[in-house]
């Protein structure tokens, strides 16, 4: 269809490619050099000797445990979101009750609540509940803050389900519960995978709640481990960047194997 290639956009695309790829190259190159070698050369130079000591060093710092913790948090948060949001979105989209539309407004407003705003009372609440320095104390607020946008996304997806389909089921005397299970859920697969992706990313990359609500190494998540590493060993660029790279490896793997789902998921955030 397109005849002449779009030169302007092409140039912009290549320029942006360099801006994106160069730091990634530097990161990878740095992580396989020893501290001393990196200091001698410039950040942009190709490594002379290769070593994996930075990666093993990161594990020594506890990154193995951090991975496990982050995984636990992510799975739990996604679990909570997947259990709570579909019924909510269903009610928002189909219920005639005024309460339900009021609830939707509540969640829309909730979109505007920055997590930062509530960290102080959250700290107080969580520590009084005895959940300080406990992964549950991180899971619950993180999940709560995933709810507004997940609701928005999923209700947007559910709205696309044609009324005729509901009508047809109503004609058959279906209860709301049956409609939910047989009609809504199967047709919202796209939306559900979007919110799964979104909440998983939020949980995996969450920083503020772990920062304020956890303390010891046994409950640290990757982002916090990264921050601490930088704070204490920032000058050790190869070591720090190795930690950075490791923090993205799991998501990178998911990306490689489930690219379509991931990308579709994020595209869905736009709500078409």
């Amino acid at each position: 269809m397109r005849r002449r290639p779009n030169y302007l956009a092409g140039v912009a695309a290549v320029a942006w490619l360099i801006i994106v790829a160069l730091p990634l190259y530097v990161m990878l190159a740095a992580t396989v050099q020893s501290k001393g070698d990196y200091a001698k050369g410039s950040p942009l130079s190709w490594p002379e000797h290769f070593t994996f000591e930075n990666y093993s060093g990161a594990f020594d710092e506890g990154f193995g445990q951090f991975f496990v913790n982050t995984l636990i948090v992510t799975v739990a948060v996604v679990g909570i979101v997947v259990v709570l949001v579909p019924p909510l979105a269903y009610a928002v989209v189909r219920s005639r009750s005024r309460v339900a539309s009021g609830v939707f407004r509540l969640f829309l407003l909730g979109l505007a609540i920055p997590a930062q705003a509530v960290i102080v009372p959250m700290f107080y609440l969580i520590s009084e509940a005895g959940l300080y320095d406990n992964l549950i104390g991180v899971i619950l607020p993180t999940a709560a803050f995933c709810l507004p946008i997940s609701t928005l996304i999923l209700s947007g997806a559910m709205r696309d389900i044609g009324h005729e389909l509901f009508e047809a089921m109503a004609v058959d005397g279906a209860s709301p519960r049956r409609m939910f299970l047989q009609l809504v859920l199967p047709l919202s697969k796209g939306g559900i995978s979007t919110i799964v992706v979104f909440s998983a990313l939020q949980a995996w990359n969450g920083f503020l709640f772990p920062l304020v609500l956890t303390q010891s190494d046994s409950t640290k998540v990757i982002t916090l481990g990264l921050y601490n590493f930088q704070t204490e060993h920032g000058i050790n660029v190869p070591g720090t960047l190795a930690a950075v790279f490791m923090s993205m490896v799991p998501i990178l793997l998911v990306y490689l194997f489930a690219r379509r789902a991931l990308v579709q998921g994020l595209m869905g955030v736009g709500g078409k």
Binding site: I72, A76, G79, V83, N134, I136, E232, H233
Partner: protein
Amino acid sequence: MRTRTRFSRMLVGGVTLGMALSLSACGDNGGSGSSDGKIHVLVYGDATNKVEKAVVAEFNKTSKVKAVLDTIPGATYQQKLQTIINTPQAPDVFYNWGAGSIQPFVKAGLLMPLDDFIKDDPKLKSAFLPSVFNAAAVDGKAYGIPMRGTQPVLLFSNDKVLKNAGTQAPKTWDELLDSVKKLKKSGVTPIALGGGDQWPTLMWFEYLYDRIAGPDVLKKAVGGDKDAWASPDSKAALNKLKELVDTGAFGTNYDSVKYTDGGSPALVARGKAGFELMGSWYYSQQQENAKEFAEKDLGYNSFPTIDGGKGDPADIVGNTNNYYSVMKKTKHPEAVAKFLKLMYSDKFIKQQLAIGNLPTTTNTEKFLDTAADPKYAHYQFDLVKKAPSFQLSWDQAYPQSASEQMHQAVQQFFNGSLDVDGFIKAMQALPTS
């Protein structure tokens, strides 16, 4: 079949949730304070941690109640400690600097006076040098056991860089200015400064004041006498310091460089700077992160003397020590008492010396030769022994609540946003209790 789909979905969701919850509940019982049958020891995260880890491992060999070492990176240590100390998950034992740093906790009734422990084991007190031990006493009661070493502030140098610039470690202020000039000419930053952390900048003030005005100014000021800051000696010290800053001795980007992440030491180790004024722990820092440099070119000297100054040239400033304090609500006081005993054990003393620290026990002297660098150990020991006055870092002498303002004031004086009078005013506004 249809109902089962719903059921199984709910089931899967619920099981995931349940699994995650139970995993997190039992997989991370660290940090839930003393309720997990362990004692938590919280320390400042830096190169010295390996000795502390070794002590904990030693303790765990014979104790039924195990100890767990938690660290917080130095740059955020005090802030994090303050945040968690009042939660149910506060550590049992934590690192501090004595004096002002524990005052608010004592006042809030959070700390356990250690006199009972001392009654059971008098060596907990008698094994340490009295001047050091008493720095952690508040209202006559003992609240801390010394656990690292004494940390005078010394002027460290990269001797290779100095030689290339045709200069050497200065003994007097004028020699320092001369070195700075020569270093600048040779293209390096004369003095590395971790201005981003703010407290390294404070060290310069501490020495200038001590050399020119003597230790009394600060003593009076901490005691509540605000006029001490406006005295002519105080002004003279500030003016002299300004002189040094104005020569560009610290370079231009020091406020974006930190000590705590290794930034300023790297400047010295990699030959981009000539000097750095830092506590004696600098030695173990460099040993850990730049071994070759530490072994060959790391130099150390006492701070230059200043002609006409009231302070004794043998005075030193720094941290008299670091201490372990105990929370009143710890659930295992007997285990804690046993842990604290290790602080004066011969093995621990030797381990400290091996990484360049100088413990303050009465038996340290006989182990000095086992130190990693016996010359360094002897040098420090003699320096501390002969010093007529050992001024505690200002931000530890003042209460915690004064830290932020004090740090900002010193940073602003260096970058020119505060002049001499502005600085004096800022210091006078500091709370003293």
